[in-house]
Amino acid sequence: MIKIKWGFYIFLLPVILWLFLLIVLPQIDLFINSFRVVNDFKDTTTWGFGNYKSFFSDSVYWYTFVKTAIYSIITTILTFLLTFPVAFFITKVVSNKYSGFLALLLLMPFWVGELVSVYGWMILLRESGVINYFLLDIGVIHKPLHLLYNNASMLIGLVYMSMLFMIVPIMSSLEGLDDSLIEAASDLGASKFTIITKIVIPYAAPGITSGSIIVFMLVLGDYLTPDLLGGKNSLWFTEQIYNEFIASFNWNQGSAFGFLLLALSSFIIWIALKVTKQSLEKAVS
C-alpha cells in the first residue's frame, strides 16, 4: 500500500509544481502588484485601487474591454453555427470509413501554426491579394477593396482559428448519439428542425458548452490574430495589457488589466452557463 502511495505522489509532483510555480505564484505576485500604484517618476509607491480606477476613468479602456467581450461572444456563436453542421455531417451522415479522414482534414490548418495561418489570410485578403486580384481580373470591381485591417477580417481570423476547438468536443458528444433517437423522434412526428433543436442539440449540449468555453477564453485572450488581421484599430484588450507591460513598463497597471480580463471571462461564462442551464462539471468531464 505504501509503495502505491509513493508512486501516486511522484506522478502528482510535476503537476503540483507546474500549477504552483507557473500559475499560482505568478498570479499571486501579479495580484499584489495590481494594487501597487507608482507615481509618474516611479519613485514613490502607494497601495490602493488606483490601477483599477484608471481603467474606469479612461473611456478607451472601457470601450476596448466591452468590444473585446462582444466580439469574443460573436466569434463563439459564429464558430458554433459554422462547425455544428460540419460536426453533425462527419459523425452522423458520412460513413465511418470517411469520418476519420475528414476529421484529419480539420486538423491540417493547425499543423502550420497560428502565425502562418494568419499570414495565409493576409495573403488572401490584402489589397494586392488573391481575392482582390481575382475580382479585378473578372471585372467585378475596378479598384481593390480594403478587406484587411477591419473588424470583419479580424472575425474571420478568430473564427478560423477557433473552429477546431469547437468541433472536437461537439463531435465527441455527437458520436454517442444513437441514430435510433433521431429515427424515434421522426417516427413520433417531429420535423427535421424539431429533431435538431429538441434532440440533437440538447444531446450535444455538454460538448457545445465545453467547446464554447474553450473558444471564448482562447479568443478573449488572443493577441496575434486581432493584432495582425484587425490592424491598429482592432482595440483588443490583450493589446492594452501588452502595451502596459511592454510599451509603458507599467507592470502594475498591466496586472490590474489582466485581472479585470480574468474577472470578465469568468463572469460571462458564469452568466452563459446560468442562461443555458448547463453545468460546468458535465461540460468538462
Binding site: 421522426s186 413520433l188 434532440i199
Partner: protein, 357 residues
C-alpha cells in the same frame, strides 16, 4: 374484420443484394402479429419499410387501405418501439411520452391528462418527473411503449424490444405485453428471433426466411404442422435427420437415416424425402403394447440434461449411430432413469415430419 395493413408484392434490394423478395401479406385489425426469423432474414428491413424509414424497391404498403408510398415516417399512422428503446435521455418520463403529443399541437391540459392515463395503463403512475436514466429495464420498456401508444397509432411496430432484458424479466414482459395488447386492442406487429416470444404472444406468426415468409399461421399450427423444413427446424426444439426413403407400397414408406436407422411410416405420399424431424416431446417412452400407427425402437440413455420441467435425455438409437434428444417427463415413472438405461420408445407416424428440401 378489416385488414389494417396490406403489404403487396413488396421487395427491397440494396445495391445487388435482395433482402426482401416479392412479399405479400395482410394483417387484421387488432391482431398480435409476429414476424419470426433468424438475424439477417430481412425482418427489420420489412419493419422499417412499414414504418417509412425505407422505401420498397418494388411493391406497396397500404395502411387502412391508404397507399403509403412516399409518405415519411412522421406522417404515417404507425409508431415503432425500437430495439434500443431510443428513449430521449435528456428528457424525463413525462417529456418523453409527451414528445409526440407536443408535435401534434395538443393543448397542455390534454397532454397532461393523456400522459398520466397512459402511465397508469402501463403501471407507472407518478413517474412523470423521473429521469429515464434512473429507470430499470422493464420500466424503460414500458415508457417506450407508452410513448408510442399515447399517439393512438393504427399499428404499433415492435423491433425486438425484449432483446436487452434478462431472462426472468423477459418472461414477465412477454405476458404483460400480451395482456396490454388485449386490453387496448391496438394492432401489434412484433419482430423477434425468439420463437417462444412469438408463440406465446401472437395470434398470427409469420416465419421469415431469406426475405420471404415460409409459413404464416396461428402459433399452434406452426408448431404442430410446419410447412417447410426451415420452419420445422426453427420453431421449437427438434431432432433433424438426413434421410432417404423407399416406397414399400401405396401407403407405407421406409425411412433410412444417414447413420443407419430404419423405420417405417404410413403415408400415401410416394415422393422422395430428404429430411426427417422428430420433436423431443413426441417420442413416447415405454409405449403400451396395443398402441397402433407407431414406429417402435429402443434407445440407450447417454446423458441426462436436467432442467426441471424441461428435462431431456440425449439418447442413442440402438443398433445405429443416431443420437436424439428426448423429453423426459418429470413424474414417478421416469424418476430413476440413469445413464446407460435401455428404454423402449416409439414415435407416432404423424410425428415423423418428412420434407423434400
Amino acid at each position: 374484420m378489416d385488414n389494417i395493413l396490406e403489404v403487396s408484392h413488396i421487395s427491397k434490394s440494396f445495391k445487388d443484394r435482395t433482402i426482401i423478395k416479392d412479399l405479400n401479406f395482410t394483417v387484421k385489425e387488432g391482431d398480435f402479429f409476429s414476424i419470426l426469423g433468424p438475424s439477417g432474414c430481412g425482418k427489420t428491413t420489412l419493419l422499417r419499410m412499414i414504418a417509412g424509414f425505407l422505401e420498397p424497391t418494388n411493391g406497396k404498403v397500404f395502411i387502412r387501405g391508404k397507399d403509403m408510398t412516399g409518405i415519411p415516417p412522421n406522417k404515417r399512422p404507425v409508431n415503432i418501439v425500437f430495439q434500443s428503446l431510443a428513449l430521449f435521455p435528456m428528457m424525463n418520463v413525462k417529456e418523453n411520452i409527451a414528445f409526440g403529443l407536443r408535435r401534434r399541437k395538443f393543448k397542455k391540459q390534454e397532454i397532461n391528462d393523456k400522459v398520466s392515463s397512459m402511465l397508469e395503463r402501463v403501471g407507472l403512475e407518478g413517474y412523470e418527473k423521473k429521469s429515464v436514466t434512473q429507470l430499470s429495464g422493464g420500466q424503460r420498456q414500458r415508457v417506450a411503449i407508452a410513448r408510442s401508444l399515447v399517439l393512438e397509432p393504427s399499428i404499433l411496430l415492435l423491433d425486438e424490444p425484449l432483446g436487452a432484458l434478462d431472462r426472468k424479466l423477459r418472461e414477465h414482459m412477454k405476458i404483460e405485453l400480451k395482456l396490454l395488447q388485449a386490453e387496448i386492442g391496438t394492432t401489434f406487429i412484433y419482430i423477434t428471433h425468439d420463437q417462444s416470444e412469438a408463440l406465446v404472444m401472437s395470434n398470427q406468426v409469420a416465419v421469415m426466411n431469406n426475405g420471404n415468409f415460409d409459413q404464416l399461421d396461428i402459433p399452434k399450427n406452426l408448431y404442430k404442422s410446419p410447412s417447410t423444413s426451415f420452419v420445422a427446424g426453427f420453431v421449437g426444439e427438434t431432432n433433424k435427420f438426413n434421410i432417404t426413403t423407399e416406397v414399400i407400397d401405396d401407403n407405407e414408406i421406409t425411412i433410412k437415416t444417414k447413420n443407419g436407422w430404419k423405420l417405417n411410416k404410413q403415408c400415401n405420399n410416394t415422393e422422395n424425402y430428404k429430411y426427417l424431424f422428430i420433436r423431443p416431446e413426441s417420442v413416447i417412452l415405454k409405449p403400451e403394447k396395443e398402441l397402433r400407427d407407431i414406429s417402435r425402437f429402443t434407445i440407450k440413455v447417454k446423458t441426462i440434461l436436467f432442467d426441471g420441467s424441461d428435462t431431456k435425455i440425449s439418447a442413442l438409437v440402438e443398433n445405429t449411430k443416431e443420437i436424439m434428444l428426448i423429453s423426459l417427463p418429470q413424474n414417478a415413472q421416469f424418476e430413476d432413469v440413469v445413464v446407460g438405461d435401455e428404454i423402449e420408445a416409439a414415435v407416432h407416424h404423424d410425428d415423423l415430419k418428412c420434407y423434400k428440401e
